[in-house]
Structures are given as structure tokens and as C-alpha cells.
């Protein structure tokens, strides 16, 4: 396969930046999943779609708004009623779902080239994200695995919490560099490292 270029590349500077003399409190990286797909169930077909997600990924989605989970390689979360985002380190997720998500159940949209996944981790991750998004990032309100749909200055962002102090943010590829720059600026005052 042709290697996919990162939209962040001109602004992606590995190393420590900002005010890191007293330690690095934020780690920023691009997770570069091989596949990102969005799945949407027709009304009443949600359970069948969740079963299809389990068949393909082995991940059993919890019920409830924004529920999700990740095994470190594959991750899935709900971002709207009856709609789910699935990411996989490997390519080929859309083809795998096309076999099990029949037209009676819902739709499969391959967004592997349309989204950029940025990971922010570290003890100040919640604090930095709170500058961007007016949602509650505290662990009880935003549990591990769960997903949230929100926007920063009209740039849509889907956020999944993949650790107690780690979040994966899916943004439009065409806005990703701008969002990355903003994220770097917001992390400067606590010291951040790009990996």
C-alpha cells in the first residue's frame, strides 16, 4: 500500500516544547489508524449493528449514549443516536464491515483518509482540552472508552477517552494542521512533548 502522508507533517516537530523546564505534562502524537469508519443504523436496527461491530472487531459495545471501548488496537464509540465510529490500526475495516452490515441494517462510510486522529495524554490533558471544548472531561462524567461529539470554532471533533489521562481526537483532515497548531499553543504553558 502507498504510505499515507500526514497532514500535520510540516508542523509536527518531535521533541519537548514550551515551558518544560519543570517537566513535560502533555504528550501529543498522531495515532495514524489504518482504518476509520463510521457506521449508522437505520431506526430500530441498532442492536444488529452493535452485533456486527462485535463480529468484526471483537469489541462488545456497552448500551447508552456515547458508550465505547478500546483494546489498544481497535476502538469504537457512539457519537450520535445509532451511529458509531470505529478505528483500527490495520487497514481494511470498511471492506470487513461491508460484508456484515447489510443494507437492511445500516450504512458504512470509510473515513480513513478523511479524518486525522490526534492523541493527547498526560496529567494536564483534561486541563488543556477544557480550554477548547465546553464539555465535562472529569473521569466520572467522561469514562474510559466513551466518546463525545463536539466542536471547536466550528471544527467538528469526536473525542474518545482511551485512558484515565489520555484522549484521541478525530478531526477533519483538512482542519487537522490548524487544530494541531492550536493544541500545541494551548499545551505550551505546561510543557509538552511531541512523539
Amino acid at each position: 500500500m502507498v504510505e499515507r502522508q500526514s497532514p500535520l507533517e510540516p508542523e509536527f516537530h518531535v521533541g519537548s516544547h514550551g515551558n518544560f523546564e519543570h517537566g513535560v505534562e502533555i504528550l501529543l502524537t498522531e495515532t495514524r489508524p489504518g482504518s476509520i469508519v463510521q457506521l449508522a443504523a437505520w431506526p430500530g436496527e441498532e442492536k444488529k449493528l452493535m452485533a456486527a461491530i462485535r463480529t468484526v472487531t471483537g469489541l462488545a459495545l456497552p448500551d447508552g449514549a456515547g458508550g465505547g471501548l478500546s483494546d489498544g488496537v481497535k476502538s469504537v464509540f457512539g457519537f450520535a443516536p445509532g451511529k458509531f465510529t470505529v478505528a483500527d490500526d490495520a487497514e481494511g475495516l470498511a471492506a470487513a464491515f461491508a460484508k456484515v452490515v447489510t443494507p437492511d441494517i445500516g450504512t458504512v462510510t470509510d473515513l480513513s483518509h478523511g479524518r486525522t486522529a490526534i492523541r493527547i495524554a498526560g496529567p494536564k490533558a483534561e486541563w488543556v482540552l477544557a480550554k477548547f471544548f465546553a464539555i465535562d472531561f472529569a473521569l466520572p462524567a467522561f469514562p474510559i472508552g466513551a466518546g463525545r461529539s463536539t466542536a471547536h470554532h466550528d471544527v467538528f471533533a469526536q473525542i474518545q477517552r482511551t485512558g484515565s489521562d489520555q484522549f484521541d481526537i478525530h478531526v477533519f483532515r483538512s482542519f487537522a494542521r490548524s487544530f494541531w497548531n492550536a493544541l500545541c499553543h494551548a499545551s505550551e504553558e505546561v510543557g509538552y512533548e511531541v512523539q
Binding site: E46, P81, S149, T150
Partner: protein, 98 residues
């Protein structure tokens, strides 16, 4: 102003788009009843108090919502999905009503 989306929870109004008066009833598209069309397009209750409105959570889950907002205080007293629960949609499908 916060609107509590039934899917996403409480969110700032900046994430939402106003989609208009929720009291309107759209006539049958084939209808030639001009009074009904005129009422649909132009007549508004404009109440000083609770008002039925349609909003879209355009900066979030993108669901369309029925919101009751007080036009004097901006208090939101009820929020629900415009589309009824999915079970009833499935029932309509089973009964052949699309």
C-alpha cells in the same frame, strides 16, 4: 444558555442551530389549500413565555430536537428527539407506513 441534548448531555447553545417554530404543521405537499400554506409559511404565535421550537445539535450529534424554551427567561423546560423513539419507527416500518 445551555440545552441538554438527550444524547450528549448539557451543551452550550453555540453548538446548536435554530431550525424554526415547532408549532407549524406542514400541509400535504400536494395540497392546493393556500390558506394552509400561508399559515405554514407566515403565521407565528410569537408568545411571551413557553415556545415550542426545533433545534439541531449541529455541533455535536446532529440530532434534531424538540425544545420548549421560555422566550422571556430562556429557560429550557423540555428537550426531546424530533424523531420518536426508534422502536416506534420500527413499528411504522413493520406496518408498511415507511
Amino acid at each position: 444558555m445551555l440545552i441538554t441534548c438527550p444524547y450528549c448531555g448539557p451543551r452550550d447553545v453555540i453548538e446548536f442551530t435554530y431550525q424554526g417554530d415547532g408549532n407549524r404543521e406542514r400541509p400535504d405537499p400536494a395540497s392546493q389549500n393556500f390558506e394552509a400554506w400561508n399559515a405554514y409559511v407566515y403565521d407565528r404565535l410569537n408568545p411571551a413565555g413557553d415556545h415550542n421550537e426545533i433545534w439541531q445539535h449541529s455541533g455535536g450529534c446532529r440530532a434534531h430536537l424538540r425544545v420548549v424554551r421560555n422566550t422571556l427567561t430562556h429557560e429550557i423546560s423540555s428537550v426531546a428527539f424530533v424523531r420518536g423513539d426508534h422502536a416506534s419507527a420500527a413499528r411504522r416500518k413493520a406496518e408498511g407506513q415507511s
